[in-house]
Symmetry: C2
Subunit: 471 residues, 2 copies
Amino acid sequence: MTRTPVRFAVAVAVAAIAPLLAAASAARAQAVDPQTIPSTYRQVADRLIDAAVANQHAYERLGELVDRFGPRLSGSQSLEKAMDWARAQMEQDGLENVRSEPVMVPHWVRGEESAALVQPWRKDLAMMGLGGSVGTPAGGITAPVYVVSSFDDLKAHAADAKGKIVLFDAPFVSYGRTVAYRVNGAIEAAKAGAVASLIRSVASYSIYSPHTGVMRYDSAVRKIPHAAITVEDAEMLHRMQDRGQPVVVHLEMGAKTLPDAQSQNVMAEVTGREKPDEVVIISGHMDSWDVGQGAMDDGGGAVAAWEAVRLMHDLGLRPRRTVRVVLWTNEENGTRGGEAYARDHAAQLDKHVLAIESDGGVFKPQGFGFSGPDGAMPIVQQVGKLLDRIGAGSVTRGGGGEDISPMMHEGVPGMGLQVDGERYFWFHHSNGDTLDKLDPGQMAECVATLAVMAYVVADLPEPLPHGGSSR
Amino acid sequence: MTRTPVRFAVAVAVAAIAPLLAAASAARAQAVDPQTIPSTYRQVADRLIDAAVANQHAYERLGELVDRFGPRLSGSQSLEKAMDWARAQMEQDGLENVRSEPVMVPHWVRGEESAALVQPWRKDLAMMGLGGSVGTPAGGITAPVYVVSSFDDLKAHAADAKGKIVLFDAPFVSYGRTVAYRVNGAIEAAKAGAVASLIRSVASYSIYSPHTGVMRYDSAVRKIPHAAITVEDAEMLHRMQDRGQPVVVHLEMGAKTLPDAQSQNVMAEVTGREKPDEVVIISGHMDSWDVGQGAMDDGGGAVAAWEAVRLMHDLGLRPRRTVRVVLWTNEENGTRGGEAYARDHAAQLDKHVLAIESDGGVFKPQGFGFSGPDGAMPIVQQVGKLLDRIGAGSVTRGGGGEDISPMMHEGVPGMGLQVDGERYFWFHHSNGDTLDKLDPGQMAECVATLAVMAYVVADLPEPLPHGGSSR
């Protein structure tokens, strides 16, 4: 996931007008007595859960994806090959309306890159250029480093940063807060006259692993190269500065942004038996950063969503409404897939009953975070009871996903799978995001959790009340 | 630490003859009533503990060491500069008999090295050549990979390994067992006709970090290059093979062994007030692998031992016998420091009352493992009671250290600091072995633990019973 604070703030702001929409659909919702949901759907839910946890099919399919195609950055051949493979596999699965919808995506390439400590002693620094960064001039940049702990620290010592490579050694507090240095660090460093900027990787734990991710420029501020080094090296350079040791770094980055590239969202369905034009979306994103395997972020989420729909198909379950799995492109550095879908399907969004995304890893599932009208909460919470047997029955306020946020912006209720994310930021956007970090049994439970929620909401006699969250 | 199983096995075997020595000194030991130790030494032990935990001096000194000199492989300038610095600092500390004793050490250099997956898709593989390995021919080796899970697996499929790069994907069971693939993997792979061998890093957890360490050749078997890749990549290559995907790797290593280099053990003392020729050794090793900072293995142990002696000096505590801190050279790939000491001091070893080493990290201390005569156990266990207030009072059977094992071999009782080592093999011999992995408060407690044990044993009215362990 990218989960930039800005986009989520927009979704919440728009949600404030949603009660108007919610009120309009409240009358419809009255027809569903939430209390009857667990007993009505217990049998089918148990069938889905039992089938999901009976084998390791989801994990094996994820292994195929990540071991055959590797990481899948927007604009890369590996992403498009993986998308083509998924579409072909969905056909083989026997899913319905299998198709691609075209999306033009940003095409940033990392190129050759390296960083080295030059003073006080020579040492290679593990690093990753940040997505969207410009490269260095040929031959790289060699400059003294000025280490700061925060944006405030930089502002207070802006004169010391001029002509230097600024290093933001900001300890991980939360992703939402600490990612600001990755997203906006180059802008703030350039304002102070820095020649390049480095960040301490946005990671809650490190065994010397750099972490990449998206960054931004401001059109009014000079673009300088921006890269992440490890937590270990950031702390060491900071200690050296505090001790009065001179710190000089050589940085070389061949990064550049090419013209937008052709990509695709891939989707398939179990078409609804009564109201095929009413849709429950279940989704994850296929693109990843160009490091590791993109297994946790978000190959696992994409495959889990896909497998949930395959399970319904294999069990011969066809709900009243359509369940559509979408494998998004370009979550990581543009959200062009989610935006294209919301734009291309604008006329049908009022028939999109719910959009679910799994983009927080497929670890032990806990339930869902939901953003939608108040009237929908008791319903989805009763559906959650069907998942209590695997400990995944919690449905709490607030949640969604980067790719479904353009839809949520238009009033479609959104839901994000919640899992035990304790180690999520240990691996996120690093070479450590590999298949082995996931557990086959936990992933199967995520499939079950997604399948039960999607199936039951798609099958309810009346659609879920529409509109955004009142908070 | 290296802790190769062979050396420890030798120490244990020799220890079997130790009861003879122990019996000879049993009469002397009777004069010490172990039960009186806690009350006799409570006050001085509390002074040492209170002084150790009053500040972060040990951690700051370790920071100076690892940030100023970096990693310190035998034969490197950084090791000798660090040794010279330590000796000068010991003089400044006011310690007595500060000196170096010369040691010739192996001089292996890593050179430029890299590995890349060539088939089924192109990917750089993080790797580390193993200490002592030969390099590849110029231009490297490109060959299909054959993955095995164990030596037995290799033997059962030896024909499949011929002409290939053998990869040992042996999951971590325990260091003692799993390190066999690092130590002997090149020999067994070469016997099967392999052109090079790779191991899954010997690590109990990984965020894509390769781990180095010592390896061996057999003079009767062809020498082939031997390197470690990450747990993640080893598992991926194994899955690819299981899936029938062709796996081809390019390996390039500039490793070579140069003529032995001049090094040194550095030592200093608080000289005994009554029996200066009777000695308690307290020690850690200054050399490390050429990666990370060697902060945990074993800069922390070396500095903790040093600081324990400095504390005695600063508090004006002078025990009956001499307490000598030794900063060993060449623990990692030769144990030449420990061997030179035992050889050069052979005539005095019967007056070496106890040798302590800290080489398991300076995490939360738990106590000591002791290898010595049965008659000594109740005594050192009573000393341990003085450490119960910081939870470090456990003294159990069995323990020592690689550098003190040559002395232990000659009958000197040995003792190893025991700490909470849960994450030790997460960082061991990797770029993740850096200062930040240690905690200043825990390190101070390790200093206290070493200081109390060394001081009290050095001050007892009668020397500790001599001789090795009966088990």
